[in-house]
């Protein structure tokens, strides 16, 4: 059976922002949950280094794409939750547009190979 290999680190880095934005579009979340969700959704193929997520989140916050708030979880643990901002929604739309374009070009070329 063909197995999809681990995704290259350049692609992992490039996809971090659109993935975070898209996850936060579903509702506020925190670092650990974001990493877990990406891992589950990618069947473990998109492997982020845990510590490197936070500089990305902080950069996005400085750029005004997301905002954060400290709150206590149901277990009483303090967590920093991230929320999507208006500029973040716009950035997400741009990412979707660009990634869709790349995907359609790639798919088109692939189809031509099998014609």
């Amino acid at each position: 059976m063909y197995r999809v290999p681990m995704i290259r680190k350049e692609l992992v880095a490039a996809s971090a922002e659109p993935l975070i934005l898209s996850l936060l579009a579903k509702g506020e979340s925190y670092g650990y949950a974001i990493i877990q969700e990406v891992k589950v959704r990618s069947d473990g193929k998109l492997n982020w280094t845990d510590g490197m997520l936070y500089p990305v989140l902080h950069r996005m916050e400085h750029r005004g794409l997301i905002k954060s708030r400290w709150a206590e979880s149901e277990t009483g643990r303090k967590r920093k939750y991230y929320l999507l901002k208006k500029d973040g929604k716009a950035a997400m739309a741009r990412h979707h547009e660009q990634w869709s374009l790349v995907h359609s070009v790639l798919s088109g070329l692939r189809k031509e190979q099998y014609v």
Binding site: Y32, D50, M52, H62, R77, K80
Partner: protein, 206 residues
């Protein structure tokens, strides 16, 4: 005997040593580490192994710090630019208001037309230079062209005044509306230029 709390304290010290000094990221990182340890232990690992795997998953502290430093530099640059632009905007606005006041006070002695001509030139030229300096580097950005055009349009308010002063006979009309056109249009231009340093613009510059 393995001490989890001591290991986490050591990990924290290591993070501090690498340069992550700000308490906010460090606290956030530690919370994440603890959650991961908890998850690893729930999946059957003992404390020591859970800690080792979690710390390893976290990555090199130097690399994390390097990424945080990059954000800090960008943020500092952005803050500095915004401060300079605000200061210049304020300075020019005060200068413009002062110029109008002087023009009104001394107009009887020197004649309003000469004063306004002098005033329009001294105020408009630096304003225009500033706008060009601020606006042009961003003109290639998506959606930035209209902002640049509007900024330059506002700045041209000074030149409109200059034209009116030299070509229209009604000095009284000019004395009433001309200076206000300058006062209102040019700080708006500065504000728009400052807005160009918004997060979205900086994002597109990366």
């Amino acid at each position: 005997m393995f001490d989890l709390e001591q290991s986490i304290a050591d990990w924290r010290t290591q993070m501090l040593a690498s340069g992550i000094e700000s308490p906010v990221p460090l606290e956030e990182l530690e919370i994440h580490l603890r959650e991961e340890i908890e998850w690893q232990m729930k999946s059957g690992l003992n404390e020591q192994r859970a800690f080792e795997i979690s710390a390893q998953r976290f990555g090199q502290s130097k690399n994390i710090e390097l990424e945080f430093k990059k954000i800090e530099r960008t943020f500092m640059k952005k803050t500095l630019m915004c401060t300079i632009i605000r200061f210049l905007g304020l300075l020019f606005s005060v200068w413009a208001i002062w110029g109008v006041f002087i023009a009104f006070v001394t107009s009887a002695q020197y004649g309003p037309k000469a004063l306004l001509l002098h005033y329009c030139l001294t105020v408009t030229v630096p304003y225009t230079l500033l706008a060009i300096l601020l606006a042009l580097p961003y003109s290639k950005l998506k959606g930035g062209l209209w902002k640049v055009l509007f900024t330059l349009l506002c700045l041209s308010g000074g030149y409109v005044c200059l034209y009116l002063v030299t070509h229209l006979p009604s000095e009284e009309w000019l004395m009433i509306y001309g200076p206000w056109l300058l006062i209102l249009s040019q700080p708006i231009a500065i504000w728009i230029s400052r807005r160009k340093m918004s997060n979205q613009t900086l994002e597109q510059m990366k």
